[in-house]
Amino acid sequence: MAENTKIIENATCTFCGCVCDDMILTVDLDEKKIIKSKNACVLGRAWFAEHTIDEDAPAAMIDGKEVSVEEAIEEAAQTLTKAKFPITYGLSDTTCEAQRQAVAITDRIKGNIDTTTSVCHGPSGLAFQGVGESTSTLGEVKNRADLVIYWGGNPAESHPRHFGRYAVTPKGMFTPRGKKDRTVVLVDVRKTKSSPVADILIRPKPGKDFEVLWALRALVKGKKLSDDIEERTGVPLEVLQDLSDRMKNCRFGVLFFGMGLTMTRGRHFNSGALLALATDLNEFTHFVAKPVRGHGNVTGADNVVSWQTGYPFGVNFSRGYPRFNPGEFTTVDTLANGHADAAMIIASDPASNFPKKAIQHLKSIPVVVLDTKMTETSKDAHVAFRTSTYGINTSGTVYRMDDVPITLRPAFESPFPDDESILKGINKRVNELMLAKHYASGASGEVKVAAPI
């Protein structure tokens, strides 16, 4: 046991969208590392254990050469203001405070901002805009849900504490016996590590989620279905009828859904069918639905971009005000279509998970990267900042997948600046450059400028 340690209680793990805030961290202050993370799941333990400080790594680089942070901020601001179609992307693994700065910069440079939502639950966001959503915070699921359905996801591996902390086993106000008071249904094309939790396992044919959801909507509304439904979907009519009855007769039902719906053919219509099913069920009982969101603060990114622009992601400012059009202003599209001429990537690694065509374009334009570690994206960046890790080295606000905001409790200090302070620096400099441009264009009058908000 190290000698110089401290304990941080009620710290928050920001690895996944569960944002569990009951961590008890033991920090070795000399070694600057977390040596124990009580209550963390396997992913959380790795998150805390592996975010160590590499003192030798440069805090800032331009074209691979070490520079001061100030020089890098200057170069980033110059690069972004020169561009005609600069894009900002990422943001799901940083604080809301940093996200606010990122939107501010993009607004000032008349750029394009998008978050990892667009390649995660973006389609669910579009579905939400189409049909709305009956939803709840996770505590209501814990307190009330007697029917829990997971659709197209594998939380045992992607959100390991979702079952234990929020939805399946916890004992709540009206579910005093925990799992015994609940029926758990899992719908997935393959058997996964989540399967053992289910009382009922339904395995549709791959790519038939929409048809199954549509069939359930019809049954819930009392409509007849064609007899060949099993042949078409792989799910027998009796199974669908049974599930429909259970859904209508439960006291408080919840449908959680994952990217098995959003990333497959049908995309937003798959999510839309599920949201509509949950809405339909409210004619009979209380029913909610909830996308199981991925990264620690992707929900915060949706919220910040929404309150600042009116739209959750895929927002373009090139005409001096926000416009929203997924498929046009989302990052896979701005890159794959060859539209972006500069990029600022914050806490994300598109170069390792985007479609090949988008990656090729990203590699052809100047890129500013803020990340805690070297990635495929940062290794080729024009300007690269190494930043401290949110929730481990820096405080700030993070939104759990159910839109509940939580304040982070950092464990130890990092020699590297946090995302917010870098972005604040870029914002300030960008503001100066844009104002200079404004005056250079012949604008007159003496104007007082308050500190940028």
């Binding site: 790795a46 393959r190 996964t192 790519g207 992601f313 498929g327 046009e328």
Partner: protein, 115 residues
């Protein structure tokens, strides 16, 4: 022999833990280039755990090594791989006016690489 199969990239716990170590580190590279296939399908192709296969479609191709899964867990015709650079090689960029590329259920051809 080549044949069309459905590839489902997704997340796994191991992928999650290894990305914390670093995406440029060997462990992450290994996790994201390991393909799951059911043992019947592997036997049919004369594959054993660790053999290399080439996955390809209209978009591109990638070489990964395979590992067996029980047929009742992963049906015939289906493949699973944790997200990462290899799966990106096969991903189309058309987002159908919604921003999301089709990242799961990609039709791919699979071919054993003779060593």
């Amino acid at each position: 022999m080549t044949e069309k199969m459905i590839l489902i990239p997704g997340r796994s716990a191991k992928q999650g833990t290894s990305l914390n170590i670093g995406k440029l580190k060997d462990e992450y590279k290994e996790v994201t280039s390991t393909l799951e296939m059911n043992t019947d399908e592997m036997a049919k192709r004369g594959l054993v755990d660790g053999d290399k296969v080439r996955l390809s479609n209209d978009i591109g191709e990638t070489i990964v090594s395979c590992i067996g899964k029980k047929p009742e867990d992963l049906p015939d015709g289906m493949l699973f791989i944790p997200y990462g650079p290899p799966s990106s090689e096969l991903m189309a960029s058309d987002t159908a006016g919604c921003g999301m590329p089709l990242s799961k259920h990609m039709e791919v051809e699979i071919e054993k690489i003779s060593t």
